[in-house]
Amino acid sequence: MLAWTIYISFLGAGLLTLLPRNSAALARRLALLTALAGLAVAVAGLIRFDPAAGTRMIADVPWIPALHIRYFLAADGISVTLVLLTGLAAVAGILFSWNIEQRTKEFFAFYLALIGGVYGVFLSFDLFLLFVFYEIAIIPKYFIIAIWGSTRREYGAMKLALYSFVGSAMVLIGMIAAFVVAGHLTGHYTFDLTVLARVPFPASFQRWAFPLVFIGFGILAGLWPFHTWAPTGHVAAPTAASMLLAGVVMKLGTYGCLRVAMTLFPAGVTMWRTEIAVLAVIGIVYGAMVALVQKDFKFVIGYSSVSHMGFVLLGLVTLNQIGLDGAVLQMFSHGILAGLLFGVVGRMVYDRTHTRELADLETMNLGRALPFAAVTFVIAAVASMGLPGFSGFVAELQVLVGAWSAFPKAAIAAGVGIVIGVAYLLRAVQRAFFSDMAARPVEAAAHHPLPPISWPERIGAGLLIAASLVVGLYPQVLLNVISPGVASLLEAMRKGGAL
């Protein structure tokens, strides 16, 4: 049933392109309906998912017999969690882009095509199929940013597209090599991930194949030092696209690292995990420190994404249950919270004030002019800092506990990153919403009252906050499905030679 998330999204995208030219209102409703349907399927998938039964098969038919490629969809706990995240982010993103007036139907068509690709990646258990969906997600991103974006949009869009494409080129090399080597070793050519995971690739091969594929996916996850597309891309993108980029597209990267690079090349993980942990920690601390000095409000959030994704990568290479649980939960949590933060900055603030410079926002007394935005941002910020009760706390805590047993020094450094995270978020909250300078002579807000926060925005924000709260207060709702999935992956990795 989960496969319908993919079909519904592509169907919606197709229908949108067929709408007549001036049908913005209809396009919005159709897009929202499509995303809601996807979310409903995702929620039903989570509820009906039986963690004890292991991986659930969805579809498995021969697709390209010449290369033994199959159309093989399946879901384990990790997939189900990320599909749910995609559903939530998709709905929220559409609600936050309710005000798009220019070429509306094209916007939502690209948007839904991107969502369909993302769902596809999370549900593919055939490497070729996964790669196809992964690439399908690249092109809509380019057009969404280049057409509807803001600051240096064409540059940001091209940079993002080329970085993604270079990343996927690296994955493609690793994938072809793995296919050929596995076929030569076992006499059985296949792209089936569950089969490839059991192939004993020679250590000499894993030594170069693992970093190639891991970094290839890692580029999209914002792995330092390949993260530079992320801040420029996020800033250039329209709000909904930033929400999706940070919310789910970066998760494609970490998901690929886990599902492909780590499961296929477990011995490679062991060889390189220290280096990756170092890069992850640098990402955490560096992202946070750069966020601390940004002048543009959206860049603060852009760099904070790099920092938070560092936790996911660190959690992945701990190679223990709690660390990996934390990594997957952090993917979910960051997806929700980054979406929320970008929604506030891009939609609630920027679309009304037409500036994102913190120095300008200081003079506008936004805490009073847009109280809803201020409250939402404060909630998102404290959740993002790791306040208990929200999803970020559970996730980062687990990553830190996992890291403590694997890389104690890295755990300490990451802890420092959390502290800096508190600092940049408080700085942003203070300067953007509650500045003392607000009472300056020229009160822009008084002369041009800002339009009030609309209902779609309120609902979108409410949805994301609720999701974060539910997972924060009762993390078992997700951990119950994540843990068995992680456990079976870890088991397979151990058999394959990881620690």
Binding site: W63, I64, P65, A66, L67, F128, F131, V132, E135, I136, I138, I139, Y142, F143, A146, I147, E154, M158, A161, L162, F165, V166, A169, L172, I173, I176, A177, F179, V180, V181, G183, H184
Partner: protein, 502 residues
């Protein structure tokens, strides 16, 4: 099968005969009956006659089963050659469909006659395993294409392109002929398979290497591989757009097919070694060098182009580099079928995509020119054609689920798997993948103009005829469907290769 009747021969050569007769018909209809009619009507009549002949030929090819090898490879007809011929005629038909609104010449009959003769040449090229007939067929194709390139007599660029193409082509043909005569001297045969048998054990005779390189030069020219590519950008830019489309599609298909046969069959045994740091002389390292040079120069030079036709020409050079990987995949006799299947799939889908891309360029040209600026805001001036353009460009860049992606994927997998033990050609695959990442940039440049940029003030909506809309939509659909369901094309290819015993 030494004694054969003319009836058998007709049976084998039915499609070619039909096309030759059609070429005469096109000529006579136009010269005899339609001389005084208005030009659009003459285009329509000529196109109609040609299309009819083409359809008959396709019907013949798909319904008459024939398999023979006449006079030691002078004429080889098997399911594989028939399949490639269907592809060639299909490409001719698409080219014709895109020519119907042409305004570049009044010599309508001659134009269609030459298109048909070029196609007949390509079909003979596909059907021969003998260096003599290969050369003759090559010349028939080339001479027709030279004239087609220079067909726009009102344009200096067209004349220059034709002359350049002709001069380079003439020299390349001379080299090929010289190389082939050396081969004949060494092997004592003109049949490809016999050449391979007779050359076995000669090792790396310097004379053989000279001959090999000369042969490669001639084919390298036809497929526009670096460093024999210099004619391509000028010819693509100067030739009438439909003619350029045929040069870029049909001619590529036939040349690559026969090039693959010459290398894999004729030079079997002197592959040499192309594995990284284990190079040994033979045709594999030679072609690997051409492939690297083509991919590098094609992709980098394409970035700098402002004329989209030239951009497509450099992209064609880059694609020739990728396709050479298919030839290299055939260097291992045990995996030859895989390489051939990958190559045929790639050249077919590439040809369809390129015709489509040229079709779109032709429409844009009507609004002023083929430079990138002319594409600005194209998506709002002609939405359907712009969507087709997006499909073609993204397919050329290799984005799934379009045919260009699977073509590359299969080609690269076949090349990497040619020596599965040591991943010998993986270095070349890595290079090719890296270069195709570069290529996304310039394809996106075109799409950026078409979809992102606002139309210029004076921009007008182009006139698009129904036939063009239909053709482009069909081509885009084919690119999408063959990309999403490659088995539909791969199945017949695999069957044909098996039946042909390649």
């Amino acid at each position: 099968m030494n004694a054969f009747s003319y009836l058998d021969l007709l049976n084998l050569l039915g499609p070619e005969t039909i096309l030759v007769l059609t070429s005469l018909a096109a000529l006579f209809v136009d010269l005899g009956a339609l001389r005084d009619q208005p030009l659009p009507r003459r285009w329509l009549a000529g196109g109609g006659v040609t299309a009819l002949g083409g359809l008959l030929a396709i019907l013949w090819l798909t319904n008459v089963t024939a398999q023979a090898n006449l006079a030691h490879g002078i004429l080889v007809v098997d399911p594989l050659t028939q399949l490639v011929k269907v592809v060639l005629v299909a490409m001719l038909l698409f080219t014709v469909a895109l020519s119907l609104r042409a305004e570049f010449t009044e010599h309508v009959g001659e134009y269609f006659c030459l298109l048909l003769l070029a196609t007949v040449g390509m079909m003979f090229l596909v059907s021969s395993e003998d260096v003599l007939t290969i050369f003759v067929a090559l010349e028939l194709t080339s001479l027709s294409l030279y004239i087609l390139t220079a067909f726009n007599k009102r344009s200096l660029v067209s004349a220059e392109a034709g002359l350049k193409y002709f001069l380079f082509g003439g020299v390349a043909a001379a080299f090929t002929l010289f190389g082939l005569s050396l081969i004949y001297g060494l092997a004592g045969s003109t049949n490809l398979r016999e050449i391979a048998t007779n050359l076995a054990g000669k090792g790396t005779d310097p004379l053989l290497m000279v001959a090999l390189i000369m042969v490669v030069m001639g084919f390298g020219f036809k497929i526009a591989a670096v460093p024999f590519h210099l004619w391509a950008p000028d010819a693509y830019q100067g030739a009438p757009t439909p003619a350029a489309a045929l040069i870029a599609s049909g001619s590529k298909v036939a040349s690559f097919f026969v090039f693959a046969k010459v290398m894999a069959l004729g030079f079997a045994g002197i592959e040499g070694n192309g594995a990284w740091r284990q190079f040994a002389p033979g045709w594999v390292p030679v072609l690997a060098t051409l492939a690297v040079a083509s991919m590098l120069l094609g992709n980098l030079a394409a970035i700098a182009q402002s004329s989209v036709k030239r951009l497509l020409a450099y992209s064609a050079i880059a694609h020739a580099g990728y396709m050479l990987l298919g030839l290299l995949a055939m260097s291992n006799p045990h995996r030859r079928a895989d390489g051939m299947a990958a190559l045929v799939y790639y050249i077919t889908t590439y040809g369809l995509t390129t015709i489509g891309a040229f079709g779109v360029v032709q429409i844009v040209e009507r609004t002023g020119g083929d430079s990138l600026e002319n594409f600005a805001g194209f998506s709002r001036r002609a939405p359907l054609v712009a969507v087709c353009l997006m499909v073609f460009m993204l397919s050329l860049a290799g984005i799934p689920p379009l045919a260009g992606f699977f073509g590359k994927f299969y080609l690269f997998t076949a090349a990497a798997g040619a020596e599965p033990g040591n991943l010998g050609l993986l270095w070349l695959v890595i290079f090719a993948i890296a270069m195709s990442a570069v290529s996304l940039y310039y394809y996106l440049q075109v799409l950026k103009r078409a979809f992102v940029a606002a139309p210029a003030e004076a921009a007008i909506a182009p006139v698009v005829s129904f036939m063009e809309r239909l053709t482009l939509a069909l081509l885009a659909l084919a690119v999408v469907v063959l990309g999403a369901l490659p088995a539909w094309l791969l199945g017949p290819i695999a069957d044909a290769i098996k039946a042909a015993g390649f």
